[in-house]
């Protein structure tokens, strides 16, 4: 199965191309309507470019091309009519430009080679000297395989993705192609963007049917899409899908970027992968499919033709296509995935291509990746106008010797610390237990052993090990009901998020002394961040001290600790000394009763043992009743004070403070300066940007100002002329390149 990619029928004015039917037959009864089929090889005047032309390995089985495929097969193309629907494949069709027909003027989907039954599967490797050969022959790719496919077979292999572009008619010579291919085990649904000559357009997804075949569904609300049973493999490693697209007509690369992310709300469950389109600004559209207003689009537009829907994306996919004469696109698609709790994202090279490499997400912003500006993966908070900023030496320096911190477990001596969520039942039990006198020394006397009781409201649960904290209450309702809470056995650390700090100027003004960054950390207040974190991501980790109730927050950037702050996280629940005295005094009464009861019980038990009769049993019962009565009396007395065991929560618990991280960046105002460089008008031409680069004037264009020019190599010039040349270069010359 092939779905073609990047068909730009930029037919010239008043030209059209026609195709005849291919020799391929198919069984309509077995074929879903509007399925996209791979047919035979019928040459057309559509040329691959030499740049990415892949060769043919004649010895390889199942090859479709008998010659080096300089020509694309017409049957590789599927067409859409003026309703935006695919033409029935067994009909002849024609494609005309929009002057003749109100039909699609451009559409763009990915080419995917699918081996639906894994019987004609050939992994194409463009790095192969052969350049990868074509997929199986027309014979093998006809629908026998399809027919044999059963609903039980739900695995669709995407074997090859190859981007290419071709044009028709008088535009043929203008085409250039680039492509990349990788191996995937993935389900991908391309999205087609139709642009009609009235400049309206629609996005239509290609959805896989239950046989794993892409089928035409017509324009739909993307959010209404649900995956059927054709997404077989679940992979818990998937985190999100990111794609980046650069788009600029004429002017080429580096006009900005737009990051998009498809996040698996429920990781590993395909049905919950959200589907995204994008608007003309490259911004993610999360609510329904997008009908962009392209009425103003002329020479500068973004085209976001793909949505991604799948469950496992093993490598990045980089469909990109260039045409020096019309437009350029650079796109990077890839998975943002997690391995061993480390996040990775796809790496885009400077030419806009991807080679399948990934990079640590934390290092993306500091890399020289073309998609390095993607520092915020929240999907909507990026700045699409941020120009590409080449990496500077300083960006990497702080990776060379990271300051790591090791949180060694603390020793607590004889003390043990238990943590429990504040639950009304548990709290009541604890409260009751804490205000209860347990005369039995073999059981935990909480009140006498208690050394601290604090309330903490941490950003997340304090790690603790399951342990049973035995508190024996004596009130009837708690008798025998232990309270199980967990013991804190280490020095708990809690990560509290990662935050991207955006740059604005993308130059030195993003740093001190012009810009500064501060961070507010709950419990700890404001603390300054070094300005070099601007443009990078920082994370905050709390280290809690449950003994003191304090917390230390460390701010990390590129695994370096760049700031720290300390505060009080806990609020002590106070105990008053007089409460203890009152409890002891109150317990005295209970103790006396307990003693009497115990004596009676002992006597009763003794009598029972001796008499071994009915009376003995009765005495035992009387004795136990006395004990219980004593317990009850003691408990009731002691419990009078239980409400004293209350703590008033203060700011330490963040009950009334700011409970989120806030990062404040102070920068100079832009004034009247405009993006992308935020400099006075005509600044580049009149003053010039700071360069400090060694080159030759001939390699430059426009104003250059040089330093310490050595003119000794200019032969034939007089000393005066050399001096003049030196003065010119050092005061500034304008290099022109007249044709």
């Amino acid at each position: 199965m092939i779905i073609n990619k990047t068909v730009y029928p930029d037919v010239g004015s008043n030209t059209y191309c026609t195709w005849s039917n291919s020799a391929v037959t198919y069984d309509a009864a077995q074929t879903l309507e509007h399925s996209i089929f791979y047919a035979g090889s019928v040459s057309e005047n559509v040329q691959f470019c030499d740049e990415t032309n892949y060769s043919y390995d004649a010895a390889a089985p199942n090859c479709n091309f008998s010659v080096k495929p300089k020509a694309i097969t017409k049957a590789d193309v599927f067409f859409i009519n003026d309703d935006g629907r695919f033409f029935n494949f067994n009909n002849s069709w024609e494609f005309r430009n929009d002057k003749d027909y109100n039909i699609v003027t451009e559409f763009d989907i990915s080419q995917f080679y699918f081996d639906l039954n894994q019987i004609t599967c050939t992994v194409h490797d463009l790095s192969d000297p052969d350049g990868g050969h074509a997929l199986g022959s027309a014979t093998t790719m006809t629908f026998d395989a399809y027919r044999s496919q059963t609903a039980d077979y739900k695995k669709t292999h995407l074997i090859r993705s190859l981007s290419y572009r071709y044009m028709y008619g008088d535009s043929t010579s203008l085409c250039k192609y680039k492509g990349v291919a990788s191996y995937y085990d993935v389900n991908v649904a391309p999205m087609i963007r139709y642009v009609f000559n009235d400049k309206t357009c629609i996005y239509t997804p290609v959805i896989f049917n239950t046989y794993g075949l892409p089928t035409w569904q017509g324009p739909v609300n993307l959010n209404s899409l649900t995956a059927s049973g054709n997404f077989p493999e679940q992979n818990s490693d998937i985190y999100s899908l990111v794609y980046t697209m650069y788009g600029k007509w004429y002017e080429g690369f580096v006009s900005g970027n737009a990051a998009h992310m498809v996040t698996a709300a429920n990781i590993g469950v395909v049905d919950n992968l959200t589907v995204h389109a994008a608007n003309d600004q490259g911004q993610q559209v999360t609510n329904g499919y997008h009908m962009p207003d392209i009425s103003s689009i002329d020479t500068d537009k973004y085209m976001i033709p793909v949505f991604i829907w799948g469950n496992r994306w093993d490598k990045s996919i980089a469909p990109f296509f260039t045409d020096e004469f019309v437009m350029r696109y650079f796109a990077s698609f890839g998975l943002r995935f997690k391995v061993d709790n480390v996040m990775y994202v796809g790496y885009m090279q400077q030419d806009g291509t991807c080679n399948g490499d990934y990079i640590l997400e934390s290092e993306l912003a500091d890399s020289d990746s073309a998609n390095r500006n993607i520092t915020d993966f929240s999907g909507s908070n990026y700045d699409a106008n941020v120009p590409y900023v080449p990496p500077s030496p300083g960006d990497d320096e702080d990776n060379t010797d990271p300051i790591s911190t090791v949180a060694a477990p603390f020793g607590t001596g004889l003390a043990h610390y238990y943590v429990s969520t504040v639950d009304s039942t548990v709290l009541s039990q604890i409260s009751e237990a804490m205000s209860t006198w347990d005369i039995d020394t073999s059981k935990k006397d909480l009140y006498r052993n208690l050394i601290s009781c604090k309330i903490i409201k941490p950003p997340a649960g304090i790690p603790a090990s399951p342990s049973t904290f035995e508190i024996y209450g004596v009130k009837p309702q708690y008798q025998g009901a232990d309270i199980t809470i967990n013991e804190v056995t280490g020095n708990p650390s809690i990560t509290f998020g990662s935050y991207s700090i955006p740059r604005k100027f993308n130059d030195f003004r993003d740093y001190a002394p012009y810009s500064k960054a501060e961070i507010y950390i709950p419990y700890c207040g404001w603390t300054a961040l070094p300005s070099h974190v601007i443009g990078k991501s920082v994370s905050v980790e709390y280290f809690t001290d449950v003994i003191a109730g304090t917390v230390k927050a460390l701010v990390y950037c590129n695994n370096n600790v760049v700031a720290e702050a300390a505060g009080v996280m806990a609020v002590d629940i106070p105990f008053a000394a007089e409460n203890v005295g009152a409890k002891v005094a109150a317990a005295t009464t209970g103790l006396l009763s307990y003693g009497q009861g115990a004596l009676q019980a002992s006597a009763g038990i003794g009598q029972a043992v001796v008499s071994k009769g009915k009376q003995g049993t009765k005495n035992i019962a009387n004795g136990l009743a006395s004990v219980i009565g004593a317990y009850n009396q003691m408990a009731m007395t002691a419990n009078e004070n239980w409400t004293e065991i209350n703590g008033k929560s203060g700011d330490g618990c963040c009950l009334s403070g700011i409970s989120t991280i806030i990062i404040k960046i102070t920068r100079p105002k832009y004034g009247n300066f405009q993006a992308p460089y935020y400099v006075p008008e005509d600044y580049a031409h009149t003053t010039g940007f700071v360069a400090m680069k060694k080159t030759t004037p001939a390699a430059c264009t426009g104003l250059i100002i040089c330093d310490n020019v050595d003119t000794s190599g200019i032969s034939g010039a007089t000393d005066r002329e050399r001096q003049l040349i030196k003065e010119y270069l050092e005061s500034g010359i304008i290099v022109e390149h007249p044709e």
């Binding site: 429990s420 004034g671 700071v690 200019i714």
Partner: protein, 145 residues
């Protein structure tokens, strides 16, 4: 001497100037000693529609610094050598340290540029975390011996 007359539209500090031909191969008569850097010539030409010229014998371009109409429809012209144009090819291939450049691709954004005016007023940007200190009732930590 043979002089080519041009009309140059480029500023004096332009490397690879743009100029249009006014008249080629004009005969010039040297008046006395001719300074290569600042020659004065009597041209067999009667119009003042040029501002730039090239002397083949010297292999140099000149900016016109003064012109006067002489009797017999001759032009007396004085020029000043333009080494930028005369040695444009050699200058173009001379390695230089470019401290400032118009071309953004040469820009080194992380080097401070004191020529860029800094607005004294500030703007504040903020990043607010989406994680909140536990939304529940918190936790109780009990220490016992």
């Amino acid at each position: 001497m043979t002089v080519h007359l041009y009309n140059c539209s480029s500023a004096s500090n332009v490397l690879n100037k743009s100029y249009s031909i006014v008249q080629n191969n004009i005969t010039a008569i040297a008046k006395g000693i001719v300074d290569v850097d600042n020659p004065t010539l009597l041209l067999d030409y009667s119009s003042l529609d040029f501002n730039y010229f090239y002397i083949s014998e010297f292999g140099r371009y000149y900016n016109v610094t003064s012109r006067s109409l002489e009797q017999g429809e001759h032009i007396r012209v004085t020029g000043q050598s333009d080494p930028l144009e005369s040695f444009a090819a050699q200058i173009g291939s001379t390695p230089v340290l470019v401290t400032r450049a118009e071309d953004p691709s040469l820009r080194n954004p992380d080097l401070a540029d004191n020529a860029i005016p800094i607005v004294s007023d500030i703007q504040l940007d903020k990043v607010i975390g989406d994680e909140v200190i536990g939304s529940g009732n918190g936790m109780v930590v009990i220490g016992v011996i």
